[in-house]
Each structure stands twice: as C-alpha cells, then as structure tokens.
C-alpha cells in the first residue's frame, strides 16, 4: 500500500464529502421553479405590502397564500399583455387554483406560529430574507432547529424559559 495509492484515496474521499455538503446546502437553498414566473421585486417596488397578499400572518399560525381572485383583482387591468399574466388569467377562467411550490418548509412535527412571531416584533425579513429585492424567491437560510433556537435563546431573560421549552415548537 504505497503512499500514492493512499493519497489518491484520501483526496477522492474528500471530494465526495465536499460535493455531498454543497449539494445538500444547494438543495435546501435552491429556488423551486414556480408555475408562474412571479417576482416579489416588481410587486414590492409597486408599493404592495407583505400583508396585502399574505393576509393571515397577523391573525393565524400560517401566513396564507393570496387567492387567484386577489391576483386577478389587479391583473384584470394591469399588465394584461405579459404572458405570465395570461397564464394567470388562464387559471382564473378555468377556476383552477395556481399550484405554487412551497419555498420555506417545516417538518410535520414542528408547530410554527406567524402570529406569535409578528406580535413579538419580528418582521418578515428576519427569517425570509429581503424578499422585496428577489425576482425569484429563494430561502436565504436553512431554517432548522439550531437556527431557530439560536434566536430564541437571545430573547429577553424572562421569555427564554418558555421559548427554550420543547413543547413550544414540537407538536
């Protein structure tokens, strides 16, 4: 087992491990392809607020996705020539919901509540990144337990016992 063989084996191993890590990170932070090429950037620049479309973020645990009716509310008149808007109008005529693809996802045993976070003074950018400047929405951070816990532990002292309690986020 001379040295050359050993060295090449180690390099190969390193290469495999490295590509594995990069691939998983990319997979998590990759931007899923959506049925309609929707750009947050144009809407935010046009002055639309987050809560206008994601209405139930303040009152319920999920933020909610705008209904096709809400999209058509404006796009009945605005920029009806674009082909993206035409596909939207297609869905509307067929009375079919738009099969958006979820961008940030939590496992099934996690209880996440938007209402509690917004009441605690956090805003959308803290977790979802500056979506206002994204043409293709992508997750900016791997939202796993470590990341949430890190923020929870930095809260004021009297809240930490509750926020570090497993029952707060585990169903």
């Amino acid at each position: 087992m001379n040295l050359r063989w050993l060295l090449s084996f180690v390099i190969l191993l390193l290469a495999v491990v490295l590509s594995g890590v990069i691939l998983t990170r990319a997979q998590v932070l990759g931007a899923p392809n959506q049925p309609i090429a929707y750009s947050h950037r144009t809407h935010v620049e046009a002055g639309v607020q987050c809560l206008y479309c994601h209405t139930s973020a303040l009152r319920s645990e999920i933020a909610g996705i705008p209904s096709v009716q809400k999209c058509m509310g404006c796009h009945m008149v605005i920029a009806t020539d674009r082909d993206a808007i035409r596909t939207l109008a297609g869905y509307w005529e067929r009375g079919e919901p738009i099969p958006w693809v979820r961008v940030s996802r939590q496992p099934e045993f996690v209880y996440f509540n938007h209402q509690a976070h917004l009441n605690a003074g956090e805003n959308c950018e803290t977790c979802h990144g500056d979506v206002g400047r994204m043409t293709v929405t992508r997750p900016v951070v791997k939202m796993d337990m470590g990341w949430c816990l890190d923020c929870h532990m930095k809260q004021p002292e009297n809240k930490v016992t509750h926020l570090a309690d497993c029952l707060t986020c585990h169903k």
Binding site: A31, Q69, P97
Partner: protein, 758 residues
C-alpha cells in the same frame, strides 16, 4: 367551495387530498413533463417540491390555519344534543357539545364524540347501488341518481293500490318523517312505521303511552334530577343510553356536587348492577319484573303511615287499596325494612322523584309497573314541581310540533304479517336495521323475502341493506340538513338545527331530496304536497315560522337573517326557562293494577332470566361499525371488541365455568355461544348479555368481532298493556362448552377488581 391547502404540508394526508381535486393529467403530458424533469434535474439540484394550492375564491368565514366551527345536531341516538364541529381546510376534526344548547350545555357522550367516524367511515357506500347478483349476493353495481329515482318512481306508480307500499323507519330526523308522512298521505298509503331496538330497549312507546294515561299528552316526561334530593330509579339506566343520557348525566352531576352542600340520594332498582347503579348510593337487586311491586309497597307504606309532609294522602289512598306490603316484599325479593327505610326517605325529602325506566317496559307486566312508579310521584306531590316530573315542551310551531311517534312492537308484527301475506309490493327502510334489531323469532327474514322490491336508505351495507334490491345511501348526519325537536326535552322549548359541516364526501343524496324527487316524478297530488325543489328550501320555510317569535333567544330583521342565525346558533330555544307542568287525568282515582310477570319458557329447564341490555358504547348496535367505539372499553366489564355473558359468581361456580369460558345460552326460541364474565353485581337467577355485536355485514369493524346477537334468543311477545316488545321476558338455560375465548379486557384478571393492595 375551494380549499386553501397552505397548512397542508403539516397535515399528514397531503397526498390523499390531491386525488379528489378534479385535475386530470393525460398520459402524454405526464411523459413530456417527466422527460423534461429528468433532463432538468440532472443539471439543477432537484428541489423537493411541495405544492400549495390557494383558494380561487376564498369563502369569507375561513381564516387559513384557524379552525371554523359549524353548529349541528348529533344523530348518534334519538336524544338530539346540539354539537359544534371544528373543521380545518374543509375537513371535520373534532365534535364538541354546543355550549349554548339548553339540552346538553356543551357536553357530549362517548357515542356523540365518535360521530366523525360515521362521516369518514371506510365502509361507506360511495353512490346509489343496485344489488346485481340478486338479494344477499352482496355484489353491487353503481347507478346514476336520476336513473335510480326513475326506477323507484316507476315502481311506486306501478303499484296496484296504495296499500301495497310500506315505510319502515328508525328514529329518523323529524323533517324526513314529515315529508314521508305527507307523501304517503297523498299516495293514500299507511303512514311510516317507526321502530328500532334503541326505542324498544328504552321503552319509548311505553313511556309515551304512560304519559298519555297519566298526563293526557303523549310527550315524554322530563325528570328534574338535578334539583331533587332523593331519586328512585326503577330499571332506568339514565347515565348510559336511556332517553337523553347527556342531559341526565349533567343533572346527576349537579345532584351530587351541584352546590348548596346538599348531596342527593340515588337508589337504583334493577336485577343487574349497571353503570348507573354503580354511580348510585344503593343498588337493590329486585327480582325481574317485580319492580312494580316495590313501587306499590313503598306507595302503600307512605299512604298507610302518612309519611312525609305533604299532608293527608286520603286522595291517593284508593290507589293502594288492594296492596299487601308483606306479599309485595316477598314477590320482589326485597326485605321489608329496606322498603320502610326507602319509603321514609322518599316521603321526607323536600324534593324526590321516581323514574319508571326502560327495563320495566321490557316485561309482560310493564305497563302496570310503570303506572305504579309514576304513582309514587303523585303520592309525594312532585308532579310539576321543582325536582319532580315535568313534560317535554312540544315543537314551538305547528309544523315542528308534528314529532315522530314511536310505534309499538305489535304494529311491526302486523306489518310483518302483511308482508308474509304478500300484501306489500314495495318496502322502504330508513334509519333502521330490522334484520338485526328484531327478534329472530319475529320472522322478519321470511317476510322480507316475500316483498318483491325492497329499497334501503342506509349509508352502510348493513344486514337489511344486504336484503334490499336498491340502496339509495343517505348522507351521514354531518353532511346533511335537518332539524329535531328533542324529546325528552330540555328546561325550555328547543328545536336543534342541523347543517352540513363538510361538503358531502361521496355521491350520496339526502333522503329528503329523494322523497322530493319522487314526488316531483310522480306528479299530481304528491307533487303539490311536496312543492319544494330541494331540502334546504323546505327547511328554510318550515323554520321560517319561528322568525319573529317573542320567546326566542335571538331574532333577526329578515327571514334570511334568521335562517343564518338559526344555523350559527345550532337551533332555536326560548330565552327563559319555560317548564310545562302536566295536568293529571282521572287515572289517579282508580286502584293501580297488580299483575305478575310471565316469562317465556318454563322455569324447570330454563332456570335463568335473560337480560339483554344496551351497552353504553354500542347502544343498540348502530355504533358497532365505529372503531373508536369498538375499542372503548365497556365501563363495567372493561371488555373491548367483545360480546359476553355475565354470570353471578355463585351461578358460575355451580355451572363449573369461570372467566373467558364459552357457555351455550339457549332459550325456547334460539341458541348462541359466548364467553363468560364473572360479574359480582347480578342476581344469581339472571343472565345478562350486551346488545350490539354479532353483525354479519355493516362493515369491517362490526364484522371483526367474534360475537352473536342476543336477540336471537328473545321471544317476540309483547306487553298487553302497551303492545311494546317484552324483551326481558325470556328464560334461558346455560351449558358450558369446555372451550375458551380470551376477551380483550382493559383490567387484568389477576388484579380481580381491587383498587389497591393496601
């Protein structure tokens, strides 16, 4: 209505939901996408894609992620409690009692809680079916609804005369009964026969005949247990399945620890210590059929010794003219001192009530026993007083007042006789399962074979539906409309409303819509009698009459506003308590009848009395197809998924059997085998078997149980006084078979019922 699946990802059934969305992906499209996807994913990392489908037009009452509650009525038993159902994304998640409803005040029993498994039962019929391989073949082929309705209306039209159609129903919703009666009137046929095992076991027809005799009105009495200090219950398992268990349980809770420091005395007279007797202070094991004698003895003692503070009993003396206390004590196997003690307690109490129960009606001398018990309430003048007896409030308007009467067993026997004689061409069955619920000896099986065309409305393929030619599955109660005037009622006039809490799961059709469709197809008088084009408009009109009444707890300016509030509140009820004091008829002046109980089968070779009781879990067997109920343990024997014979320890040792030994129970009419449960709380000469198991059809959960139906043994005899089925009047004999069957018990037999070892 569309659905927002944003919360779908944290709901395990994401994939299941997708099929029901009407999205068809043709094979070529799929191949195109698959080819593209594989090429693309080769390059970019394939991001695991979970689809979220928002609403197209969001309904206004739905806030994504938060539950929406819909009010409705529970149909698991005829009590008619108000419920509210939690739905998320258009799926029903949890049933809870309606806190505003005056009957159950937010509470619910085990069967009510299991209602969701009726809606989402895997064995439900998905569309109208016809039994293709002939009756009993269990091969069904689907039918389109218009086609099925045409078939049925042609059958009705083809009838030679109107007498040849029959409608056999269980305790169905009031509005279907009203439509059916109206349709049958216009056809000139006899009104529907209402009978099911639950009403027989709780003695509902006997109780209304008792009210007719005592108070001149067929409405069921309401016993104000919560306010009374002494409650003598004769055979009424009021905390399990008798009449309105949730309202009675809530009253029992108040009587015990309600407040004002007084704790009521509760005495139960029955041959077997039921779960109700377990909560009672005293259980008096009376000889079967002799409960009436105990009541007569107590009444006689009170009148003779002028007990209590109600003044002289001269007016009631005539009632107990020919009653001899010593003889009564001997007949009922109850020591005289106990009778004296109880009579004194009953008379001295400020507020006392005696309750004639279902078991009394199950005897050949049922009516005389019930009269004797009701007379006790007269003796202590508790009729119409706090803590005593009131009458149920009828429906507030004329349309709602038409509540469904319960026919006695002899009317069912007449129907069977007519069927056997071939006088019936078309039989409709709704909400009842006579093949399973009638005693086998009554001969319903042969009778149904002679009816050329049988139609069943059951959403499940139960024993009767298997012998039907056409099944038009009704919606389950969480998917259908309706109203019900609960009887026995609450402390005020109430009408519970019923609305669909979820969109109907399958291609089923409401029975009311079937009747309206038939009327439309038949044309002529039926069409005028039933002019509404669908069930909802019919209900809106019937309920509309309540609009504007001054009593109501709520009111609305417009009829449609009232209709909306009617659905949101879950019914209509008066704001203040309105109790209906009954007026007494002249039956009070005649001496009470004393008749001895007779039993089928002579005592020598049939030494034991058969006591088939309705278990708190399965009631009369309608709950057998719900896995939650099958797995919920029976409170007294803690057996799950099972059926058993309860024997007194001495009887069992005399027979040489112990727990889990299979014993053969034989009556003059039938025979069955079941494992034994050693039951300390039962008379040595009584054998108790729970009703509800032994289903051959009715779905995978009901058929999974290795048990048999005790009604195979019951003699089809009736109580001459009321015509009700005397289900407690059969004698049986026991023979050990030497085999064993392990019952699935919660408790360990080694622990033999001890609380601790201290």
């Amino acid at each position: 209505m569309n659905r927002d699946e944003d919360t779908l990802n944290n709901n395990p059934l994401h994939s299941t939901f997708k099929e029901t969305m009407p999205k068809t992906l043709t094979r070529r499209e799929f191949l195109k996408i698959a080819a593209g996807a594989t090429a693309a994913s080769g390059l970019a990392p394939a991001v695991r894609s979970i689809v979220i489908e928002p609403f197209v037009q969001p309904p206004e009452e739905v806030l994504p992620g938060q539950a929406t509650w819909y009010a409705s009525t529970c149909r698991q038993c005829p009590a008619g409690c108000g419920i509210i159902v939690r739905t998320i994304n258009g799926r029903a998640k949890k049933i809870e009692g309606n806190p505003l409803h005056p009957l159950n005040r937010g509470k619910l029993c085990a069967r009510g809680q299991a209602g969701l498994q009726v809606l989402y039962n895997p064995d439900r019929l998905k569309n109208a079916v016809r039994q293709s391989g002939g009756r009993g073949s269990r091969q069904f082929e689907p039918l389109y609804w218009p086609e099925a309705l045409d078939l049925l209306s042609d059958k009705i039209a083809a009838l030679s005369n109107a007498e040849r159609i029959a409608f056999l129903g269980g305790l169905m919703p009031s509005h279907i009964y009203r439509l059916a009666t109206r349709l049958f009137e216009t056809l000139g046929a006899a009104p529907p026969v209402i009978y099911d095992l639950q009403s027989a076991l709780e003695g509902r027809s006997a109780a209304s005949q008792l009210s007719q005799a005592f108070f001149g009105a067929p409405d069921l009495p309401v016993y104000d247990i919560s306010q009374s200090d002494v409650v003598l219950s004769f055979g009424a398992n009021l905390l399990e399945t008798w009449m309105s268990p949730v309202a009675q349980s809530a009253a029992y809770g108040a009587m015990r620890q309600g407040g004002m420091g007084s704790r009521g005395l509760f005495v139960q007279f029955e041959p077997r210590l039921s779960a109700t007797a377990a909560s009672a202070d005293e259980w008096i094991p009376v000889r079967p059929g002799a409960e009436g004698f105990v009541a007569l003895a107590i009444g006689r003692i009170i009148v003779e010794e002028r007990l209590g503070h109600v003044g002289s009993h001269r007016t009631q003396a005539v009632l107990y003219q020919n009653v001899d206390v010593r003889e009564m004590a001997a007949a009922s196997d109850v020591p005289i001192e106990t009778l004296h003690r109880l009579a004194r307690a009953f008379a001295d109490a400020d507020r006392a009530v005696a309750i004639p129960g279902g078991y009394l009606a199950g005897q050949r001398n049922g009516f005389s026993s019930m009269l004797a018990v009701q007379a006790l309430n007269l003796v202590v003048a508790q009729v119409g007083r706090e803590g005593g007896v009131f009458l149920s409030n009828p429906g507030p308007t004329a349309a709602l007042r038409q509540n469904l009467p319960v026919n006695a067993f002899d009317e069912v026997i007449d129907l069977i006789v007519r069927m056997k004689a071939g006088e019936i061409d078309l039989l409709l069955v709704h909400g009842a399962n006579p093949m399973y619920e009638l005693p086998a000896a009554a001969g319903f099986a042969e009778a149904i074979a002679r009816v050329p065309f049988v139609v069943s409305f059951s959403p499940f393929v139960d024993e009767t539906a298997v012998w039907a030619d056409l099944i038009l599955p009704d919606h389950t109660y969480l998917e259908s409309w309706g109203y019900q005037v609960p009887s026995p009622g609450a402390d005020r006039p109430v009408v519970s409303s019923q609305q669909p809490v979820v969109r109907p799961l399958y291609d089923t059709l409401a029975a009311a819509d079937v009747l309206l469709g038939l009327a439309a197809r038949l044309g002529g008088k039926p069409a005028e009698a039933l002019p509404w084009e669908d069930e909802a408009s019919y209900l809106e009109e019937t309920v509309g009459e309540l609009h504007g009444s001054s009593l109501g707890a709520y009111d609305a300016r417009t009829p449609s506003g009232f209709w909306a509030l009617w659905r949101q509140y879950g019914g209509w009820w008066s704001e203040k308590k309105i109790r209906r004091e009954p007026e007494l008829t002249e039956v009070v002046q005649t001496p009470l009848p004393i008749s001895d109980p007779q039993f089928e089968g002579d005592p020598e070779d049939y030494p034991f009395h058969l006591y088939p009781y309705s278990s708190i879990i399965l009631s009369d067997g309608r709950g057998a197809n719900l896995p939650w109920l099958q797995e919920a343990p029976d409170p007294m024997t803690t057996v799950q998924w099972g059926m058993w014979v309860e024997l007194n320890p001495k009887t069992a040792s005399a027979l040489g059997v112990s727990d889990n030994d299979i014993v053969q129970v034989e009556s003059p009419y039938g025979m069955l085998e079941a494992p034994v449960v050693i039951y300390p709380g039962i008379r040595p000469d009584v054998v108790a078997i729970p009703v509800g198991q032994g289903h051959q059809d009715y779905g995978r959960f009901a058929q999974a149980v290795n048990g048999s139906n005790p009604l195979v043994l019951v003699a089809p005899v009736t109580d001459p006084g009321t015509g009700a089925l005397a289900w407690g009047a059969t004698r049986v004999r026991l023979k050990p078979t030497g085999r064993k069957q392990i019952l699935a018990r919660l408790e360990s037999l080694d622990g033999n019922g001890r609380e601790s070892l201290g």
